[in-house]
Symmetry: C2
């Protein structure tokens, strides 16, 4: 079956694209590993998606999925392994072995957590090392934990952890903190200890994590922090391997798009949301970008159909 | 008082910008004639703002306004008459005579309905001529009405009017219909009569409208359609007069922005939403753009403060 459009990804950008594509009567397939994208890893309630004063990432994800499913659209829960350009459109292959065909494709595959890549990190995943505060935070009741990363997601993770843990540290590599001021104030209020100039060197433990070792980049000294949990919040890696031959990448490995119409360097291949080089990664921006990509793909399909 | 940021407009773009600016701890003033922008003129329920499967424009507007007011932000209900660049920032003058000062400005003043500019139009405003189906539709119970404009807003107006009026026409100037297919199908289902190639020449009546005269652009014949209501839905005019010396305009009189960061040609002056040359005018796009503009303005203020 030849679809008009295949959307890859089930986060805010993919859902918005799906709603708009279905309303344009495009014969559309959405393929996603799961719904919600990074929203489901959010450690604090979302208070900045206009229309919802305060909502958990899980609840907003469910609203998005329900909204999408109300429309006429095919949905496959699967993982995309390859997108190929062929005459008249694209082949999209999934790890299940299924293959689909369409006239146009929108990539909204978002981003995965970026690992620290230090000794001990991989070994202790699930044994003290976590990339998801919302999932694992409650396991650290009355323990001491370190969050690595002083951006908004690091601060939000720390703020969320403070309600479980006995002591929360934030370790930031650079000399300055980049989190919003509102988050910095909350961290101060909750006695979260912020350590800047900290280069993580190793995560240690026996069965479970018992410490993290960092180098103070000013004094060059190695310092051991006794913690039972390490939450890694140092940004994300765009999930783009399946399309790497068809797009250009920014220096952050994001897919470069024309910001006016979300087209990549391959005609008919669009991208939206956190997987792209859009300057800021926010739910409402991703949703708006998904909408733009769908309307742009609609025009492309009409003109090349 | 010197604000960090003044936001002009209370539609989706302005509200999103306000929420984000307040969360960045910017000392912010939002000036708007009213809240909701064009959403309040929507004639059918909104079904494409992700997260709300179906909601009236009025209800969504109220949610937006409530969400905004939950944040620390000053709000003035007023109309902006002039924005001037001065040393260190901007003066913003309102028609009330008040004047405000800020380091940066975001224009999200949206767009007003575009008039037909034919004889009879002005005279019969409120007497059969309307630019707001949501406001005036219910007054046309069991009457015959014409909607001028065959785009999505024209079709949505006609679809909404069909539940009141005895007969609904859509008059479109061009040979083709540009509305979404979903809207075209609904119009067909509801026996809405679509007339293309119709150039409106005059609106006639005594105390109230009793007919609209159009020229069939193929046969050149003048045709009189007996209707008691004329709903004008031929697009909108960006509301930009107060900033005209500081920005560049597209051929549609929209404010030109850098699509990456929402900056206009004047440093410190940003714009977002339907007032700009963003390609598609949709609520979720406007909200995303407002968010982008606020985060961009934040960076500007930090770097130039």
């Amino acid at each position: 079956m030849l679809y008009d459009l295949i959307i890859i990804g089930g986060g805010p950008a993919g859902v918005a694209a799906g709603i708009y594509a279905a309303r344009q009567n495009l014969n559309t397939l959405l393929i996603a590993k799961s719904f919600g994208g990074q929203m489901t890893r959010k450690s604090v309630d979302i208070e900045n998606y206009p229309g919802f004063e305060k909502i958990s990432g899980l609840d907003l994800m469910q609203k998005f999925e329900k909204h999408l499913r109300k429309n006429k659209i095919d949905i496959e829960i699967d993982s995309v392994s390859k997108v190929e350009k062929v005459s008249g459109g694209f082949y999209v292959s999934a790890t299940s072995g299924k293959q689909f065909q369409s006239k146009a494709v929108i990539v909204t595959s978002g981003a995965d957590p970026r690992p620290l890549e230090v000794p001990g990190e991989k070994e202790f995943i699930g044994k003290g090392v976590s990339y998801c505060t919302a999932c694992d935070g409650p396991l650290f009741g009355d323990k001491e934990v370190a969050v690595v990363g002083g951006g908004n997601s690091g601060f939000e993770a720390a703020i969320s952890l403070h309600s479980y843990a006995k002591k929360v540290y934030i370790l930031e590599f650079s000399p300055q903190i980049k989190a919003d001021e509102i988050n910095q104030k909350l961290a101060q209020k909750y006695d979260i200890e912020v350590i800047t100039n900290a280069a993580i060197k190793e995560i240690k433990g026996k069965d479970f994590v018992d410490s993290v070792i960092y180098q103070d980049r000013k004094s060059q000294k190695l310092i051991t922090l006794n913690v039972q949990g390490v939450f890694v919040e140092i940004g994300s890696q765009p999930a783009t391997s399946f399309a790497k031959d068809l797009v250009e990448f920014s220096e952050k490995d994001e897919i470069k798009i024309d910001p006016k119409n979300n087209m990549t360097k391959t005609p008919g291949l669009f991208a939206a949301g956190d997987v792209t080089d859009v300057r800021w990664k926010q739910i409402v921006i991703a949703a708006g970008e998904g909408c733009k990509a769908a309307l742009s793909a609609y025009e492309y399909i009409i003109n090349h159909g």
